[in-house]
């Protein structure tokens, strides 16, 4: 089985204004590896996934998922529809 793994590292990074290089240095990889992760070209090891989650202070499942994450626009639209 070769399941797709989706992530929202780019979203967390953009939200906090962190460069790829800063994140890469914090978790001990090269900046290009963060780029490949964000593009979905590479599945991280459990160790790297946990390091990235710990860096952002969230649970691993908030960053990585077997199903695509809902887009920010969809979440905002849903929040706007809620009375």
């Amino acid at each position: 089985m070769n399941a797709e793994i989706y992530n929202r590292i780019a979203l967390f990074r953009a939200e906090r204004g962190i460069s790829r290089r800063t994140l890469a240095d914090a978790v001990g990889v090269n900046p290009q590896t963060i780029g490949y992760l964000e593009r979905g070209d590479y599945k991280p090891s459990l160790e790297l996934a946990m390091k990235i989650a710990a860096y952002f202070g969230v649970a691993v499942e908030h960053l990585f998922s077997f199903t695509p994450f809902e887009s920010v626009a969809a979440v905002l639209r849903r929040a706007g529809d809620t009375p």
Partner: protein, 172 residues
């Protein structure tokens, strides 16, 4: 203000070429790395055509050998600038290790297949063409050079096509 001597001008001209900076970067394992998608194909193509010529016709031996050596020489440059980082000196992370693992697995598979085919072919040629011992020896040494060319070229070829280049964006 002091005037520059001839030696100073010579030093400036060498620095202008960028070679000292490149050598320094290579020593620290931080030279630029590229997705070399075409150069390994040219390298393997030259070496393969060379092997075919030198095995097919004794008259074309030196032409074939020259093409093989040009391919071999180009092949030695590929690991320096290709996407696969060296075993030591550079900062290698899990992505680099996976790319290297996949590339060398493909390389060993290709070399194994070519070696088996080549050994059978050489045996058949030796018998059918009634090669002398020196002829067989030349073919065998050329085959070794061809396999070394594969060893240096195929990992770069595989890694360059298996991954897509990534932009540097805001990495500064």
């Amino acid at each position: 203000m002091t005037r520059k001597t001839f030696a100073d001008y010579a030093d400036d001209s060498v620095r202008w070429t960028g070679i000292p900076q490149l050598l320094e970067a290579m020593g620290e394992g931080r030279q630029p790395r590229y997705h070399l998608r075409i150069l390994p194909i040219i390298t393997l193509g030259l070496a393969s055509v060379g092997m075919v010529l030198l095995l097919a016709d004794r008259q074309l031996y030196w032409l074939g050998y020259t093409l093989l050596m040009v391919g071999f020489s180009l092949g030695t440059i590929l690991p320096l600038f290709g996407p696969i980082k060296p075993w030591s000196g550079a900062r290698v992370d899990e992505w680099d290790r996976q790319v290297r693992h996949n590339a060398y697995f493909a390389t060993f598979s290709a070399i194994s297949a070519i070696s088996i085919f080549g050994l059978v072919l050489l045996c058949w040629l030796t018998l059918s063409q009634a090669w002398s011992a020196p002829d067989s020896l030349r073919a065998l040494t050329s085959s070794a050079v061809y396999l070394m060319t594969m060893w240096s070229s195929v990992p770069t070829l595989h890694a360059s096509w298996a991954t897509r280049p990534i932009d540097e964006e805001e990495d500064a």
